[in-house]
């Protein structure tokens, strides 16, 4: 940057391009105003709000069970986990302990959600870097998870399967078999992903030492999920504050020290293996029991404030509910991981090239509706 100051005026002129709101690599309606000097990125300024729907405001005028379907539409790739966050917050407020069956099913579905989200990440990340074939392989395998969702929850992406006190309905009789089949298939297919993309020399060269974030920076910026863990920040809510059935399973928290784009990718790839491990531990042991607790027809939370965080596929989602004792919440705040991850984009991509900006943006795995809410 110091050279730029010394350079003659003509060379200091900025070449500003608008990436987005409609651009193939911004994954939605994110607009990045990028100042360039040749190929080098000097400054990135994200502009958001193109799909701001005011979910937090809408929540203030509807009841707690109705909030669930709005959370589906924030981070649509972690729809189930978002639902779970609100349900856990409401259940905690009411002092309801759901049955083990519900806990197991929620955990399994959360992990399936994580797998399908990372599959889509792999698919689109490959596409961002120009490997178009990845996109189809990723979506091909994701379809199988979506079929499991569709059979049990009725929706493919927007599941709306949780409700305060349990689940909307019991699992489908095929659920366990189908899930086991998928795991068996995916254990064979996942190494193929590595052969096609992870090991590829071009891919590695594109990502190593690009968009590096140190552990200190990650904590200061509040980066969680795979982005934080790639920098060595142990931030897995499933480990530190276990919810649902996560305290009954053994799994590793994937941690890397490097903090570059490649390791953000690597964390996600390894997490798919861990998710499969978690599912395998639970799938055969789903205990019998009620799939939902009996709830009052109108749910009123006692006055107070409730905070619940869960680990979505992208990081820590915090739900902060302020209740004044009515059937509607007084204020709901979603601490969405993508919103937090977008903030240090400028920090990461300063001095990188345009192609690196695309790679960094892809490795953050941003979901724009979650940023805008």
């Amino acid at each position: 940057m110091e050279e730029a100051v010394k350079a003659p005026v003509a060379e200091q002129e900025e070449y500003v391009i608008n990436m987005g709101p409609q651009h193939p690599s911004t994954h939605g309606v994110l607009r990045l105003v990028v100042s360039l000097r040749g190929e080098i990125v000097r400054n990135v300024e994200p502009h958001i709000g193109y799909i701001h729907r005011g979910i937090e405001k809408m929540c203030e005028s509807i009841t707690y069970p109705q909030i669930i379907h709005l959370t589906d539409r924030m981070d649509y790739l972690s729809a189930h986990i978002n639902n779970e966050a609100v349900c856990l917050a409401v259940e905690k407020a009411l002092g309801i302990e759901v049955s083990d069956r519900v806990k197991y099913i929620r955990t399994i579905l959360s992990e399936l959600t994580r797998i399908q989200s990372h599959q889509l990440f792999w698919a689109t990340f490959g596409m961002d870097l120009g490997g178009l074939t990845c996109f189809f392989y990723g979506l091909r395998d994701r379809e199988m998870v979506l079929d499991i969702f569709e059979e049990t929850c009725g929706g493919r992406m927007i599941v709306s399967y949780n409700c305060p006190g349990g689940l909307m309905n019991d699992i489908h009789p095929n659920f366990q078999n189908r899930t086991k089949e998928f795991i068996k298939y995916f254990r064979k297919t996942l190494p193929e992903y590595d052969r096609l993309l992870t090991g590829n020399v071009i891919f590695q060269e594109r990502l190593r030492n690009i968009g590096t974030v140190t552990r200190e920076q990650a904590i200061a910026w509040g980066l969680t999920g795979p982005v934080g863990r790639a920098s060595g920040f142990s931030c897995d809510v499933r480990k530190h504050n276990p919810y649902s059935a996560y305290d009954r399973v053994t799994f590793n928290e994937i941690l890397y020290k490097e903090g570059d784009s490649f390791h953000r990718y690597k964390v996600r790839m390894d997490e798919m293996w861990e998710s499969m491990n978690i599912i395998e531990q639970l799938i055969d042991n789903i205990p019998p029991g009620a799939y939902a607790e009996k709830m009052k027809p109108v749910i009123k939370l006692p006055e107070g404030e409730y905070f619940q965080s869960v680990e979505t596929a992208r990081g820590e989602l915090g739900v902060y509910i302020v209740s004044d004792g009515n059937k509607n919440p007084y204020r709901v705040k979603f601490r969405s991981p993508n919103f937090v991850h977008l903030a240090p984009l400028n920090l990461m991509s300063k001095g990188a090239k345009i192609a690196d900006l695309v790679a960094i943006n892809g490795s953050l795995d941003l979901i724009i509706p979650d940023i805008d809410r």
């Binding site: 109705q66 669930i68 379907h69 539409r73 569709e150 009725g154 409700c163 489908h172």
Partner: protein, 159 residues
């Protein structure tokens, strides 16, 4: 000398990784049976949705054109988007008592988010999810549907 060896090792590692990638795409190229595409309109008849699939809200009628909806309006209250409107009427039934019945159960498919709260809340299981998924129409007004069929009546024994 070491850097020289590194240089060539880099080349060979790179080439091997590239060949690895080529083997994956090559494998699928010579195995056309792995194609997963659905031939959509051609194979439409074979396409069956899962039982739980949330396609649209429907109100099942039996052979005598009877449904179970009492017109209580609980679904309307539970709907987060206002996609259900209940227009009820009152009649004098056979026993001579005044009874509230459903006149029109209006369902705006265009506003529905398929959360399933109406179906979960319905006390008489009058509505459920249908498996229809081809909802595209040329006129938005067609997305507003009346779920109870004309001339239908409430089933005996449903309160």
């Amino acid at each position: 000398m070491n850097s020289f060896i590194e240089y060539f090792r880099g080349i060979f590692h790179g080439l091997r990784s590239l060949l690895n990638g080529l083997s994956v795409t090559g494998k699928y190229f010579v195995k056309p049976g792995t194609t997963v595409t659905q031939q959509y309109p051609n194979k439409r008849k074979d396409l069956k949705m899962f039982d739980m699939f949330k396609g649209e809200v429907i109100m099942p009628h039996n052979g005598k054109n009877e449904h179970k909806c009492t017109g209580c309006g609980i679904c309307e209250i539970n709907c987060p988007n206002g996609s259900i409107e209940i227009i009820s009427a009152s009649i004098i039934n056979e026993e001579g008592k005044k009874q509230r019945i459903i006149d029109k159960h209006i369902y705006h498919l265009g506003m529905c988010t398929f959360c399933g709260l109406c179906i979960k809340a319905c006390p008489s299981q009058a509505i459920e999810f249908g498996q229809e998924f081809e909802h595209a129409v040329f006129d938005r007004r067609k997305l507003t549907k009346v779920l109870n069929q004309p001339g239908s009546r409430i089933m005996k024994g449903v309160e």
